[in-house]
Symmetry: C2
Amino acid sequence: MQTPLTEELGIRYPIIQAGMVWTSGWKLAVASARAGALGLIGAGSMKPDLLREHLRKAKATEVSATIGVNIPLIRGDVNELIRVILEEGIKIIFTSAGDPKVHAQKFKDAGCFLVHVVANVKHALKAEAAGCDAVVAEGFEAGGHNGVDEITTLCLIPQVVDAVKIPVIAAGGIADGRQMLAAFALGAQAVQIGTRFAATIESSSHSNYKQAIVDADDNSTVLTLKKIAPVRLKKNIFALGAMNAAAHGATKEEEIELLGKKREMRGIFEGDLENGELEMGQSSGLVKEILSAEDVVKRLLSEYQQAKEKIDTLRIEN
Amino acid sequence: MQTPLTEELGIRYPIIQAGMVWTSGWKLAVASARAGALGLIGAGSMKPDLLREHLRKAKATEVSATIGVNIPLIRGDVNELIRVILEEGIKIIFTSAGDPKVHAQKFKDAGCFLVHVVANVKHALKAEAAGCDAVVAEGFEAGGHNGVDEITTLCLIPQVVDAVKIPVIAAGGIADGRQMLAAFALGAQAVQIGTRFAATIESSSHSNYKQAIVDADDNSTVLTLKKIAPVRLKKNIFALGAMNAAAHGATKEEEIELLGKKREMRGIFEGDLENGELEMGQSSGLVKEILSAEDVVKRLLSEYQQAKEKIDTLRIEN
């Protein structure tokens, strides 16, 4: 199942397992790569030394060529993280949360394939101008940190596809093969999937968190903390408190105080279901069981195939 | 291009022109029906006598069988509107903004095909239980009045399709044929399209408003007035003021005062681009010109066909 993008990345299927905090270490990335997807290690929750350890473990496997890393550019120690990534010879880089222009040249000089995550057309054009080889266009329904513009995947993908010449990867709200087919209908060349892979056996997140994804329904998440940086969370005591504070006009400073420290770790890695941040997308309502990464890829493909056969029966008669 | 739903509705294409305030009178509905779509007259901005006039004009045409009416159930004079609709013998009814159960029996007794608009799985199940023949599942990206749950079309459609046995019509954010194909990939049996039809020659809205849709980009709209009833508007002086008030914790009473009276009419019908409500969806960024309803339908079909041919080239190799 090849697109120009899959050929460039050397992956068998146009599926990218998203780099997520506290979730996608080398184990998940390697399992995803073995299943034919691109596996991304999420540097967002790793100190430079830990990131190096994960990169080395991934590099020691037979699928090292289809392992990449996601790095949030707002990290205070971003330059150190980049140094580690380049020293370890990683060639597939996804950047998010920041301006790719500042760091693009370093990656390009090292021969990396550089992808930046965007949430509107303007930033897609900027990423293209900065020399990125592709963009991830991520919609409002995505879990975790999100753009401020609240543009949904259905509306964002075709507008980004029309605006840029580089390949567009669809992200936000995609957990099954029907949605994957929808993303290709919109013009995407691959899908980046987070929440569905967060609830896999190989995900390093806490089992409580994985089960919280499985237990979610269509209406279980909310985008909140919009005055700091919007983040989509499962509604729990913490998230409902943040919503309530916002409804009463909480300031940025009050939101920062409410958030406190290490809530992502508490929720995702330590499994605190009420007071941690449980980052997940609206697609969590479609995740019904914890599977292996391999089974996730297999299901995506078979669901895709089924949906495709169904729409093949719809013909326009002139 | 037939689905079980199009066969029941007697329409040539699985396209429904949404019933919208100040926009979709008999002229637009008839033009849409002549193009092979279902044309809906929007009762939301009509007094009973005016509604009767529009229904009679539509009934006098050769396409009367594929004209329906959309009626917001929260209207104070809803019973009077329903009486007019039943007296005029209209057989296709779309209800929104309220509980369909209260009125369903009247429509069923009259032999109507009854469709209710929902924005989450729970309300879809309730509509099915109330005897509705289909549901419109409308996502967060839709223009105008919207659900409180903020579930996007991409995530909502497959979850509603999995939950109910009746046909699901996708709405919210759909303006082109790629998105129509995406909706079918997700399991919808038809699409309901608002904004794209609001910017047609036959739309009764003001030319300023139509042009405001054409001028919109990906990031031009916002969902606001969430404490009264969430509504998606183009960002203008009024909408930005409402956003700012919400950020500062405006109460429901303050939002009601801010809204005042007749803002929808001012924006959509009178063309006040700064102080009126300019209801439009995120799909407005995809609308590049004012066309006839017939050309909208033709383009949707040709874009659908093109997108379909493109995904036909993507094959899964095992």
